[in-house]
Protein backbone atom coordinates (compact mmCIF):
# COMPACT_ATOMS: atom_id res chain seq x y z
CA UNK A 1 0.00 0.00 0.00
CA UNK A 2 2.93 2.35 0.65
CA UNK A 3 4.18 2.07 -2.91
CA UNK A 4 0.95 3.41 -4.35
CA UNK A 5 1.59 7.10 -3.52
CA UNK A 6 5.14 6.82 -4.88
CA UNK A 7 3.89 5.44 -8.18
CA UNK A 8 1.28 8.20 -8.38
CA UNK A 9 3.94 10.80 -7.70
CA UNK A 10 6.23 9.35 -10.35
CA UNK A 11 3.43 9.31 -12.93
CA UNK A 12 2.50 12.92 -12.18
CA UNK A 13 6.13 14.05 -12.26
CA UNK A 14 7.04 12.26 -15.49
CA UNK A 15 3.95 13.45 -17.36
CA UNK A 16 4.32 17.03 -16.15
CA UNK A 17 8.02 17.20 -16.96
CA UNK A 18 7.50 15.58 -20.36
CA UNK A 19 4.72 17.96 -21.35
CA UNK A 20 6.68 20.97 -20.14
CA UNK A 21 9.80 19.91 -22.00
CA UNK A 22 7.85 19.44 -25.22
CA UNK A 23 5.94 22.69 -24.68
CA UNK A 24 8.94 24.92 -24.18
CA UNK A 25 10.66 23.90 -27.38
CA UNK A 26 7.80 23.95 -29.85
CA UNK A 27 7.99 26.62 -32.50
CA UNK A 28 4.37 27.67 -32.38
CA UNK A 29 3.70 29.93 -29.40
CA UNK A 30 0.02 29.04 -29.28
CA UNK A 31 0.85 25.34 -28.96
CA UNK A 32 3.37 26.22 -26.25
CA UNK A 33 0.81 28.14 -24.23
CA UNK A 34 -1.85 25.45 -24.47
CA UNK A 35 0.58 22.68 -23.52
CA UNK A 36 1.86 24.77 -20.64
CA UNK A 37 -1.71 25.08 -19.39
CA UNK A 38 -1.75 21.27 -19.29
CA UNK A 39 1.52 21.20 -17.36
CA UNK A 40 0.07 23.67 -14.85
CA UNK A 41 -2.77 21.22 -14.38
CA UNK A 42 -0.09 18.57 -13.75
CA UNK A 43 1.41 20.73 -11.00
CA UNK A 44 -2.08 21.13 -9.54
CA UNK A 45 -2.31 17.33 -9.56
CA UNK A 46 0.88 17.25 -7.50
CA UNK A 47 -0.71 19.61 -4.97
CA UNK A 48 -3.74 17.33 -4.82
CA UNK A 49 -1.42 14.38 -4.24
CA UNK A 50 0.20 16.28 -1.39
CA UNK A 51 -3.20 16.99 0.18
CA UNK A 52 -3.24 20.73 -0.48
CA UNK A 53 -6.68 20.75 -2.10
CA UNK A 54 -7.28 24.48 -1.85
CA UNK A 55 -3.89 25.32 -3.36
CA UNK A 56 -4.52 22.90 -6.23
CA UNK A 57 -7.84 24.47 -7.18
CA UNK A 58 -6.41 27.95 -6.77
CA UNK A 59 -3.58 26.93 -9.09
CA UNK A 60 -5.98 25.74 -11.79
CA UNK A 61 -8.21 28.78 -11.38
CA UNK A 62 -5.36 31.28 -11.55
CA UNK A 63 -3.07 29.64 -14.08
CA UNK A 64 -5.40 27.82 -16.46
CA UNK A 65 -8.29 30.24 -16.02
CA UNK A 66 -6.48 33.55 -15.95
CA UNK A 67 -2.77 33.48 -16.76
CA UNK A 68 -3.00 31.25 -19.83
CA UNK A 69 -5.94 33.32 -21.10
CA UNK A 70 -3.90 36.51 -20.75
CA UNK A 71 -0.94 34.83 -22.42
CA UNK A 72 -3.08 33.73 -25.38
CA UNK A 73 -4.50 37.22 -25.60
CA UNK A 74 -1.01 38.69 -25.68
CA UNK A 75 0.04 36.22 -28.38
CA UNK A 76 -2.94 37.15 -30.54
CA UNK A 77 -2.33 40.86 -30.04
CA UNK A 78 1.35 40.67 -30.90
CA UNK A 79 1.12 38.33 -33.88
CA UNK A 80 -1.05 40.40 -36.11
CA UNK A 81 1.11 39.77 -39.10
CA UNK A 82 2.27 36.23 -39.58
CA UNK A 83 5.63 36.47 -37.83
CA UNK A 84 8.52 34.42 -38.96
CA UNK A 85 8.41 31.74 -36.30
CA UNK A 86 12.01 30.73 -36.88
CA UNK A 87 13.08 34.19 -35.79
CA UNK A 88 11.53 33.70 -32.40
CA UNK A 89 13.75 30.79 -31.41
CA UNK A 90 16.89 32.89 -31.31
CA UNK A 91 20.27 32.41 -32.89
CA UNK A 92 21.74 28.92 -32.70
CA UNK A 93 24.69 29.66 -30.42
CA UNK A 94 22.53 31.67 -28.06
CA UNK A 95 19.95 28.88 -27.89
CA UNK A 96 22.49 26.14 -27.25
CA UNK A 97 24.21 28.18 -24.55
CA UNK A 98 20.91 28.69 -22.76
CA UNK A 99 20.13 24.99 -22.84
CA UNK A 100 23.63 24.14 -21.65
CA UNK A 101 23.37 26.53 -18.71
CA UNK A 102 20.00 25.10 -17.73
CA UNK A 103 21.34 21.54 -17.97
CA UNK A 104 24.25 22.44 -15.74
CA UNK A 105 21.94 24.01 -13.17
CA UNK A 106 19.78 20.88 -13.29
CA UNK A 107 22.82 18.63 -12.72
CA UNK A 108 24.05 20.69 -9.78
CA UNK A 109 20.62 20.82 -8.19
CA UNK A 110 19.90 17.11 -8.62
CA UNK A 111 23.32 16.10 -7.25
CA UNK A 112 22.90 18.47 -4.33
CA UNK A 113 19.45 17.12 -3.52
CA UNK A 114 20.43 13.48 -3.92
CA UNK A 115 23.46 13.78 -1.63
CA UNK A 116 21.66 15.71 1.09
CA UNK A 117 20.74 13.32 3.88
CA UNK A 118 17.19 14.10 4.90
CA UNK A 119 16.67 12.30 8.15
CA UNK A 120 13.38 11.90 9.91
CA UNK A 121 10.09 10.55 8.69
CA UNK A 122 10.50 11.78 5.15
CA UNK A 123 9.82 8.46 3.51
CA UNK A 124 6.66 7.78 5.47
CA UNK A 125 3.48 8.89 3.79
CA UNK A 126 1.81 11.20 6.21
CA UNK A 127 -1.42 12.69 5.02
CA UNK A 128 -1.69 16.22 6.28
CA UNK A 129 -5.01 17.85 5.55
CA UNK A 130 -5.51 21.56 5.62
CA UNK A 131 -9.18 22.45 5.38
CA UNK A 132 -10.47 25.65 3.89
CA UNK A 133 -11.55 26.73 7.36
CA UNK A 134 -7.96 26.32 8.62
CA UNK A 135 -6.68 28.41 5.74
CA UNK A 136 -9.24 31.10 6.46
CA UNK A 137 -8.34 31.21 10.15
CA UNK A 138 -4.64 31.34 9.32
CA UNK A 139 -5.24 34.19 6.88
CA UNK A 140 -7.27 36.09 9.46
CA UNK A 141 -4.96 35.59 12.43
CA UNK A 142 -1.35 35.08 11.42
CA UNK A 143 -1.11 36.40 7.88
CA UNK A 144 -3.51 39.33 7.88
CA UNK A 145 -0.72 41.77 7.04
CA UNK A 146 0.47 39.69 4.12
CA UNK A 147 -3.11 39.30 2.89
CA UNK A 148 -3.64 43.06 2.88
CA UNK A 149 -0.35 43.65 1.11
CA UNK A 150 -1.20 41.07 -1.54
CA UNK A 151 -4.55 42.75 -2.06
CA UNK A 152 -2.91 46.13 -2.55
CA UNK A 153 -0.27 44.55 -4.78
CA UNK A 154 -2.88 42.93 -7.02
CA UNK A 155 -4.82 46.18 -7.34
CA UNK A 156 -1.67 48.11 -8.18
CA UNK A 157 -0.62 45.44 -10.67
CA UNK A 158 -4.03 45.52 -12.36
CA UNK A 159 -4.01 49.29 -12.67
CA UNK A 160 -0.37 49.30 -13.77
CA UNK A 161 -1.03 46.67 -16.41
CA UNK A 162 -3.96 48.68 -17.78
CA UNK A 163 -1.88 51.87 -17.88
CA UNK A 164 1.12 50.19 -19.50
CA UNK A 165 -0.87 48.29 -22.10
CA UNK A 166 -3.39 50.97 -23.05
CA UNK A 167 -2.55 52.94 -26.13
CA UNK A 168 -1.17 56.42 -25.58
CA UNK A 169 -3.33 59.26 -26.86
CA UNK A 170 -2.22 60.20 -30.31
CA UNK A 171 -0.37 63.52 -30.01
CA UNK A 172 1.74 63.44 -33.13
CA UNK A 173 0.86 62.65 -36.73
Amino acid sequence: MTTFPIITLLIIAVITLGITAVALFLKNIIHCSILLAVSWVGIAAFYLWAGAEFVAFAQVLVYVGAVSMVVLFAVLLTQRKQLDLEKLTGTVGFRELGKLAAAMVATVLVIAIATTPLTGSFDAINEPVITVRDIGIQLRDNHIGALLIVGVLLTVALLGAVVVASAEPKTEE
Binding site: I30, F54, A58, V64, M69
Partner: protein
Protein backbone atom coordinates in the same frame (compact mmCIF):
# COMPACT_ATOMS: atom_id res chain seq x y z
CA UNK B 1 -47.67 6.75 5.52
CA UNK B 2 -45.75 9.78 4.43
CA UNK B 3 -42.74 9.21 6.66
CA UNK B 4 -41.91 5.76 5.30
CA UNK B 5 -42.70 6.47 1.64
CA UNK B 6 -40.64 9.66 1.83
CA UNK B 7 -37.55 7.86 3.03
CA UNK B 8 -37.94 5.10 0.45
CA UNK B 9 -38.25 7.59 -2.40
CA UNK B 10 -35.45 9.73 -1.02
CA UNK B 11 -33.03 6.83 -0.82
CA UNK B 12 -34.31 5.16 -4.00
CA UNK B 13 -31.30 6.01 -6.23
CA UNK B 14 -28.89 4.94 -3.50
CA UNK B 15 -30.74 1.66 -2.98
CA UNK B 16 -30.49 0.83 -6.68
CA UNK B 17 -26.81 1.77 -6.74
CA UNK B 18 -25.92 -0.33 -3.72
CA UNK B 19 -27.92 -3.27 -5.07
CA UNK B 20 -26.07 -3.08 -8.40
CA UNK B 21 -22.71 -2.80 -6.65
CA UNK B 22 -23.41 -5.69 -4.31
CA UNK B 23 -23.57 -8.04 -7.31
CA UNK B 24 -19.77 -8.02 -7.61
CA UNK B 25 -17.80 -9.60 -4.79
CA UNK B 26 -14.41 -7.84 -5.07
CA UNK B 27 -13.86 -4.80 -2.89
CA UNK B 28 -11.96 -2.53 -5.27
CA UNK B 29 -14.23 -3.53 -8.16
CA UNK B 30 -17.20 -2.53 -6.04
CA UNK B 31 -15.66 0.91 -5.48
CA UNK B 32 -15.11 1.26 -9.22
CA UNK B 33 -18.69 0.27 -10.00
CA UNK B 34 -20.06 2.64 -7.36
CA UNK B 35 -18.23 5.55 -9.01
CA UNK B 36 -19.16 4.43 -12.52
CA UNK B 37 -22.84 4.23 -11.69
CA UNK B 38 -22.78 7.82 -10.48
CA UNK B 39 -21.09 8.98 -13.67
CA UNK B 40 -23.42 7.01 -15.92
CA UNK B 41 -26.46 8.33 -14.05
CA UNK B 42 -25.33 11.94 -14.48
CA UNK B 43 -24.55 11.39 -18.16
CA UNK B 44 -27.94 9.77 -18.79
CA UNK B 45 -30.05 12.28 -16.89
CA UNK B 46 -28.31 15.35 -18.22
CA UNK B 47 -27.86 13.88 -21.68
CA UNK B 48 -31.62 13.37 -21.91
CA UNK B 49 -32.22 16.80 -20.40
CA UNK B 50 -29.92 18.22 -23.07
CA UNK B 51 -31.86 16.46 -25.82
CA UNK B 52 -35.22 17.67 -24.62
CA UNK B 53 -33.93 21.16 -23.80
CA UNK B 54 -32.97 21.64 -27.44
CA UNK B 55 -36.40 20.73 -28.71
CA UNK B 56 -38.15 22.67 -25.94
CA UNK B 57 -36.05 25.69 -26.79
CA UNK B 58 -36.94 25.46 -30.46
CA UNK B 59 -40.64 24.99 -29.73
CA UNK B 60 -40.71 27.81 -27.17
CA UNK B 61 -38.83 30.15 -29.49
CA UNK B 62 -41.36 29.25 -32.13
CA UNK B 63 -44.21 30.17 -29.82
CA UNK B 64 -42.48 33.42 -28.85
CA UNK B 65 -42.24 34.28 -32.54
CA UNK B 66 -45.80 33.24 -33.29
CA UNK B 67 -45.02 30.05 -35.20
CA UNK B 68 -45.23 26.37 -34.38
CA UNK B 69 -41.66 25.15 -34.12
CA UNK B 70 -40.56 21.63 -35.02
CA UNK B 71 -43.51 19.24 -34.98
CA UNK B 72 -42.93 16.73 -37.79
CA UNK B 73 -40.62 13.99 -36.52
CA UNK B 74 -42.36 10.73 -35.78
CA UNK B 75 -41.10 7.38 -34.59
CA UNK B 76 -43.23 4.32 -35.52
CA UNK B 77 -45.98 6.64 -36.56
CA UNK B 78 -46.17 8.31 -33.15
CA UNK B 79 -45.79 12.06 -33.23
CA UNK B 80 -45.61 13.60 -29.75
CA UNK B 81 -45.69 17.26 -30.85
CA UNK B 82 -42.30 16.73 -32.50
CA UNK B 83 -40.56 15.82 -29.27
CA UNK B 84 -38.59 13.08 -31.05
CA UNK B 85 -36.72 15.81 -32.92
CA UNK B 86 -33.44 15.46 -30.91
CA UNK B 87 -33.10 11.79 -31.91
CA UNK B 88 -33.50 12.67 -35.57
CA UNK B 89 -30.95 15.46 -35.08
CA UNK B 90 -28.52 13.05 -33.45
CA UNK B 91 -28.75 10.63 -36.37
CA UNK B 92 -28.26 13.51 -38.78
CA UNK B 93 -25.21 14.84 -36.93
CA UNK B 94 -23.63 11.39 -36.77
CA UNK B 95 -24.06 10.66 -40.45
CA UNK B 96 -22.99 14.04 -41.80
CA UNK B 97 -19.61 14.46 -43.42
CA UNK B 98 -16.91 15.76 -41.10
CA UNK B 99 -15.08 18.53 -42.93
CA UNK B 100 -11.69 19.76 -41.71
CA UNK B 101 -10.31 22.82 -43.51
CA UNK B 102 -7.02 22.20 -45.30
CA UNK B 103 -5.31 25.08 -43.51
CA UNK B 104 -6.59 24.09 -40.07
CA UNK B 105 -4.40 23.02 -37.20
CA UNK B 106 -5.63 19.41 -37.34
CA UNK B 107 -4.79 18.32 -33.79
CA UNK B 108 -6.29 21.32 -32.03
CA UNK B 109 -9.25 21.31 -34.41
CA UNK B 110 -9.97 17.76 -33.29
CA UNK B 111 -9.25 18.32 -29.59
CA UNK B 112 -11.36 21.45 -29.13
CA UNK B 113 -14.85 19.87 -29.17
CA UNK B 114 -13.70 16.99 -26.96
CA UNK B 115 -12.19 19.42 -24.45
CA UNK B 116 -15.35 21.50 -24.52
CA UNK B 117 -17.61 18.58 -23.55
CA UNK B 118 -15.15 17.16 -21.03
CA UNK B 119 -14.62 20.43 -19.18
CA UNK B 120 -18.29 21.32 -19.15
CA UNK B 121 -19.07 17.94 -17.56
CA UNK B 122 -16.52 18.39 -14.76
CA UNK B 123 -18.71 20.84 -12.87
CA UNK B 124 -21.44 18.24 -12.30
CA UNK B 125 -19.12 16.28 -10.02
CA UNK B 126 -19.61 18.57 -7.02
CA UNK B 127 -23.23 19.70 -7.45
CA UNK B 128 -25.46 18.33 -4.69
CA UNK B 129 -28.41 16.92 -6.65
CA UNK B 130 -30.21 15.65 -3.58
CA UNK B 131 -29.82 15.05 0.11
CA UNK B 132 -27.59 12.06 -0.52
CA UNK B 133 -26.79 12.54 -4.19
CA UNK B 134 -23.45 14.09 -5.00
CA UNK B 135 -20.46 12.47 -6.64
CA UNK B 136 -17.70 14.19 -4.65
CA UNK B 137 -19.62 15.36 -1.62
CA UNK B 138 -16.55 15.28 0.61
CA UNK B 139 -14.61 17.92 -1.30
CA UNK B 140 -14.00 20.78 1.05
CA UNK B 141 -13.47 23.49 -1.55
CA UNK B 142 -16.25 22.38 -3.91
CA UNK B 143 -17.10 25.89 -5.09
CA UNK B 144 -13.49 26.58 -5.98
CA UNK B 145 -13.37 23.27 -7.88
CA UNK B 146 -16.47 24.25 -9.83
CA UNK B 147 -14.97 27.53 -10.96
CA UNK B 148 -11.61 25.92 -11.71
CA UNK B 149 -13.36 23.37 -13.93
CA UNK B 150 -15.40 26.07 -15.63
CA UNK B 151 -12.33 28.18 -16.29
CA UNK B 152 -10.85 25.45 -18.43
CA UNK B 153 -13.69 25.50 -20.98
CA UNK B 154 -12.55 28.94 -22.15
CA UNK B 155 -9.46 27.23 -23.41
CA UNK B 156 -11.56 24.90 -25.58
CA UNK B 157 -13.34 27.82 -27.24
CA UNK B 158 -10.05 29.52 -27.91
CA UNK B 159 -8.60 26.31 -29.39
CA UNK B 160 -11.59 25.97 -31.70
CA UNK B 161 -11.41 29.55 -32.89
CA UNK B 162 -7.69 29.63 -33.45
CA UNK B 163 -7.23 26.20 -35.01
CA UNK B 164 -9.88 26.80 -37.68
CA UNK B 165 -7.52 29.31 -39.32
CA UNK B 166 -10.44 31.45 -40.36
CA UNK B 167 -10.59 35.14 -39.63
CA UNK B 168 -14.16 35.01 -38.37
CA UNK B 169 -13.24 32.21 -36.00
CA UNK B 170 -10.24 34.16 -34.74
CA UNK B 171 -12.30 37.28 -34.09
CA UNK B 172 -14.83 35.14 -32.31
CA UNK B 173 -12.23 33.50 -30.08
CA UNK B 174 -10.85 36.91 -29.13
CA UNK B 175 -14.38 38.01 -28.28
CA UNK B 176 -14.97 34.82 -26.30
CA UNK B 177 -11.78 35.25 -24.27
CA UNK B 178 -12.56 38.87 -23.43
CA UNK B 179 -16.16 38.07 -22.56
CA UNK B 180 -15.42 35.01 -20.43
CA UNK B 181 -12.64 36.71 -18.45
CA UNK B 182 -14.84 39.75 -17.79
CA UNK B 183 -17.86 37.82 -16.63
CA UNK B 184 -15.92 35.28 -14.57
CA UNK B 185 -15.26 38.09 -12.10
CA UNK B 186 -18.87 39.04 -11.17
CA UNK B 187 -19.76 35.34 -11.18
CA UNK B 188 -17.08 34.61 -8.57
CA UNK B 189 -17.84 37.73 -6.56
CA UNK B 190 -21.56 37.03 -6.17
CA UNK B 191 -20.85 33.47 -5.08
CA UNK B 192 -18.85 34.79 -2.12
CA UNK B 193 -21.88 36.12 -0.12
CA UNK B 194 -23.48 32.67 -0.08
CA UNK B 195 -20.16 31.24 1.15
CA UNK B 196 -19.95 33.95 3.80
CA UNK B 197 -23.42 33.17 5.14
CA UNK B 198 -22.90 29.41 5.17
CA UNK B 199 -19.36 29.65 6.52
CA UNK B 200 -18.29 26.92 4.11
CA UNK B 201 -17.04 26.51 0.56
CA UNK B 202 -18.75 23.14 0.32
CA UNK B 203 -21.89 23.28 -1.82
CA UNK B 204 -23.68 20.81 0.45
CA UNK B 205 -22.97 23.12 3.39
CA UNK B 206 -24.44 26.07 1.49
CA UNK B 207 -27.62 24.12 0.73
CA UNK B 208 -28.00 22.90 4.31
CA UNK B 209 -27.60 26.49 5.50
CA UNK B 210 -30.69 27.43 3.45
CA UNK B 211 -32.94 24.94 5.21
CA UNK B 212 -35.04 25.63 8.28
CA UNK B 213 -38.54 26.11 9.63
CA UNK B 214 -39.36 29.03 7.36
CA UNK B 215 -39.07 26.87 4.25
CA UNK B 216 -38.93 28.97 1.12
CA UNK B 217 -38.09 32.14 3.08
CA UNK B 218 -34.78 30.62 4.16
CA UNK B 219 -33.51 30.56 0.60
CA UNK B 220 -30.79 33.04 -0.12
CA UNK B 221 -32.76 34.63 -2.93
CA UNK B 222 -35.30 35.99 -0.44
CA UNK B 223 -32.80 38.27 1.28
CA UNK B 224 -31.77 41.66 -0.13
CA UNK B 225 -28.21 40.59 -0.88
CA UNK B 226 -29.36 37.23 -2.20
CA UNK B 227 -31.86 38.81 -4.58
CA UNK B 228 -29.27 41.23 -5.98
CA UNK B 229 -26.71 38.44 -6.10
CA UNK B 230 -29.08 36.15 -7.96
CA UNK B 231 -29.80 38.76 -10.64
CA UNK B 232 -26.08 39.45 -11.13
CA UNK B 233 -25.37 35.73 -11.13
CA UNK B 234 -28.04 35.15 -13.76
CA UNK B 235 -26.65 37.85 -16.06
CA UNK B 236 -23.08 36.63 -15.63
CA UNK B 237 -24.17 33.03 -16.18
CA UNK B 238 -25.89 34.02 -19.43
CA UNK B 239 -22.62 35.58 -20.56
CA UNK B 240 -20.51 32.63 -19.41
CA UNK B 241 -22.60 30.22 -21.49
CA UNK B 242 -22.46 32.51 -24.55
CA UNK B 243 -26.24 32.64 -24.56
CA UNK B 244 -28.31 35.44 -26.01
CA UNK B 245 -28.04 38.40 -25.44
CA UNK B 246 -24.35 37.69 -24.90
CA UNK B 247 -23.80 35.42 -27.90
CA UNK B 248 -21.17 37.68 -29.44
CA UNK B 249 -18.67 34.87 -29.98
CA UNK B 250 -21.27 33.16 -32.18
CA UNK B 251 -22.95 36.26 -33.58
CA UNK B 252 -24.45 34.73 -36.74
CA UNK B 253 -25.28 38.08 -38.29
CA UNK B 254 -21.78 39.50 -37.79
CA UNK B 255 -19.19 36.74 -37.94
CA UNK B 256 -21.10 33.81 -39.51
CA UNK B 257 -21.00 31.40 -36.58
CA UNK B 258 -17.77 32.47 -34.94
CA UNK B 259 -15.65 29.65 -33.65
CA UNK B 260 -18.18 27.14 -34.95
CA UNK B 261 -17.82 28.26 -38.58
CA UNK B 262 -15.46 25.50 -39.62
CA UNK B 263 -17.11 22.71 -37.66
CA UNK B 264 -19.54 20.25 -39.10
CA UNK B 265 -21.21 16.97 -38.32
CA UNK B 266 -20.65 15.43 -34.96
CA UNK B 267 -17.98 17.88 -33.82
CA UNK B 268 -20.53 20.65 -34.16
CA UNK B 269 -22.98 18.58 -32.14
CA UNK B 270 -20.33 18.15 -29.45
CA UNK B 271 -19.92 21.91 -29.16
CA UNK B 272 -23.65 22.26 -28.89
CA UNK B 273 -23.67 19.60 -26.20
CA UNK B 274 -20.84 21.26 -24.27
CA UNK B 275 -22.64 24.58 -24.36
CA UNK B 276 -25.83 23.08 -22.97
CA UNK B 277 -23.99 21.06 -20.33
CA UNK B 278 -22.25 24.25 -19.25
CA UNK B 279 -25.61 26.00 -19.09
CA UNK B 280 -27.08 23.21 -16.98
CA UNK B 281 -24.18 23.05 -14.55
CA UNK B 282 -24.19 26.83 -14.10
CA UNK B 283 -27.96 26.73 -13.56
CA UNK B 284 -27.37 23.98 -11.02
CA UNK B 285 -24.85 26.20 -9.25
CA UNK B 286 -27.35 29.07 -9.25
CA UNK B 287 -30.01 26.79 -7.78
CA UNK B 288 -27.53 25.63 -5.14
CA UNK B 289 -26.28 29.06 -4.17
CA UNK B 290 -29.50 31.06 -4.22
CA UNK B 291 -32.61 28.91 -4.74
CA UNK B 292 -32.16 26.56 -1.82
CA UNK B 293 -30.66 23.65 -3.74
CA UNK B 294 -32.62 20.50 -3.04
CA UNK B 295 -34.67 22.04 -0.20
CA UNK B 296 -38.44 21.83 -0.58
CA UNK B 297 -40.25 25.19 -0.43
CA UNK B 298 -42.24 24.20 2.65
CA UNK B 299 -42.32 21.29 5.06
CA UNK B 300 -45.65 20.03 3.72
CA UNK B 301 -44.09 19.46 0.30
CA UNK B 302 -41.08 17.64 1.67
CA UNK B 303 -42.60 14.26 0.75
CA UNK B 304 -41.44 14.88 -2.81
CA UNK B 305 -37.83 13.64 -2.92
CA UNK B 306 -35.11 16.27 -2.79
CA UNK B 307 -33.57 15.40 -6.16
CA UNK B 308 -36.88 16.11 -7.88
CA UNK B 309 -36.95 19.55 -6.28
CA UNK B 310 -33.45 20.24 -7.53
CA UNK B 311 -34.38 19.09 -11.00
CA UNK B 312 -37.55 21.20 -11.06
CA UNK B 313 -35.62 24.33 -10.07
CA UNK B 314 -32.99 23.53 -12.68
CA UNK B 315 -35.66 23.28 -15.38
CA UNK B 316 -37.13 26.63 -14.31
CA UNK B 317 -33.69 28.23 -14.57
CA UNK B 318 -33.16 26.79 -18.05
CA UNK B 319 -36.59 28.00 -19.17
CA UNK B 320 -35.58 31.48 -17.96
CA UNK B 321 -32.45 31.23 -20.10
CA UNK B 322 -34.61 30.42 -23.13
CA UNK B 323 -37.01 33.24 -22.28
CA UNK B 324 -34.09 35.71 -22.17
CA UNK B 325 -32.90 34.46 -25.54
CA UNK B 326 -36.26 35.14 -27.10
CA UNK B 327 -36.62 38.56 -25.47
CA UNK B 328 -33.35 40.45 -25.65
CA UNK B 329 -31.19 41.70 -28.49
CA UNK B 330 -27.49 41.04 -28.82
CA UNK B 331 -25.14 43.54 -27.16
CA UNK B 332 -22.29 45.32 -28.86
CA UNK B 333 -18.75 44.49 -27.72
CA UNK B 334 -18.19 47.81 -25.91
CA UNK B 335 -21.60 47.56 -24.23
CA UNK B 336 -20.70 44.06 -23.10
CA UNK B 337 -17.45 45.18 -21.50
CA UNK B 338 -19.06 48.23 -19.92
CA UNK B 339 -21.88 46.17 -18.41
CA UNK B 340 -19.42 43.85 -16.72
CA UNK B 341 -16.62 46.13 -15.55
CA UNK B 342 -18.54 49.30 -14.78
CA UNK B 343 -21.82 47.89 -13.56
CA UNK B 344 -21.81 44.26 -12.44
CA UNK B 345 -18.41 44.18 -10.73
CA UNK B 346 -19.01 47.31 -8.59
CA UNK B 347 -22.49 46.07 -7.68
CA UNK B 348 -21.08 42.67 -6.72
CA UNK B 349 -18.47 44.38 -4.53
CA UNK B 350 -21.16 46.48 -2.83
CA UNK B 351 -23.11 43.26 -2.36
CA UNK B 352 -20.18 41.90 -0.35
CA UNK B 353 -20.57 44.85 2.02
CA UNK B 354 -24.32 44.24 2.24
CA UNK B 355 -23.87 40.60 3.19
CA UNK B 356 -21.31 41.53 5.83
CA UNK B 357 -23.85 43.90 7.36
CA UNK B 358 -26.49 41.17 7.14
CA UNK B 359 -24.24 38.67 8.85
CA UNK B 360 -23.31 41.00 11.73
CA UNK B 361 -26.91 42.03 12.39
CA UNK B 362 -28.22 38.46 12.48
CA UNK B 363 -29.39 38.86 16.11
CA UNK B 364 -31.40 42.07 15.71
CA UNK B 365 -35.00 41.63 16.88
CA UNK B 366 -38.34 43.43 16.59
CA UNK B 367 -38.05 46.99 15.35
CA UNK B 368 -34.37 46.50 14.70
CA UNK B 369 -35.29 43.65 12.36
CA UNK B 370 -37.29 46.09 10.24
CA UNK B 371 -34.36 48.49 10.32
CA UNK B 372 -32.04 45.67 9.26
CA UNK B 373 -34.20 44.90 6.24
CA UNK B 374 -34.57 48.56 5.32
CA UNK B 375 -30.84 49.26 5.56
CA UNK B 376 -29.97 46.15 3.56
CA UNK B 377 -32.52 46.97 0.86
CA UNK B 378 -31.18 50.52 0.70
CA UNK B 379 -27.65 49.15 0.38
CA UNK B 380 -28.81 47.16 -2.63
CA UNK B 381 -31.03 49.72 -4.35
CA UNK B 382 -29.10 52.98 -3.85
CA UNK B 383 -25.87 51.83 -5.57
CA UNK B 384 -27.98 50.32 -8.34
CA UNK B 385 -29.81 53.56 -9.02
CA UNK B 386 -26.83 55.89 -8.63
CA UNK B 387 -24.53 53.71 -10.72
CA UNK B 388 -27.17 53.43 -13.40
CA UNK B 389 -27.62 57.23 -13.39
CA UNK B 390 -23.87 57.84 -13.70
CA UNK B 391 -23.42 55.30 -16.48
CA UNK B 392 -26.39 56.37 -18.56
CA UNK B 393 -25.80 60.13 -18.18
CA UNK B 394 -25.47 61.75 -21.56
CA UNK B 395 -27.15 58.80 -23.27
CA UNK B 396 -30.60 60.02 -24.13
CA UNK B 397 -33.33 57.88 -25.62
CA UNK B 398 -32.37 56.81 -29.11
CA UNK B 399 -33.74 58.81 -32.02
CA UNK B 400 -34.85 56.76 -34.98
CA UNK B 401 -34.01 58.78 -38.05
CA UNK B 402 -35.17 56.39 -40.71
CA UNK B 403 -38.21 54.90 -39.06
Amino acid sequence: MSASSESILEAFPLTIRDWLASVVPLDWLQWLILSLIGIVAILTVFGLTFAFTTVTERKLLGRFQNRLGPNRVRIFGIRVFGFFQPFADAVKALTKEDIVPAAADKVLHFLAPCAMVAFSLLGFAVLPFGKHLSLLSNIDAALLYFFAAGAASELAIFMAGWSSNNKFSLISSMRALAQLISYELPLLLVAVPAVLMAGSLSLTGIVVNQGGDLGILNWNVFTPWGFAGFIIFFIAALAECNRCPFDLPEGESEIIAGYLTEYSGFKYALFFMGEYFGMMSLSGLGVTLFLGGWQAPCAALAFIPSYLWFYAKLIVMILCFIWMRATLLRLRMDQLMRLSWKFLVPLALVNLGTVTFWKYTADWEGGMLVARWLIAIALVILPFISLGKVLSSGLGPRKYRYA
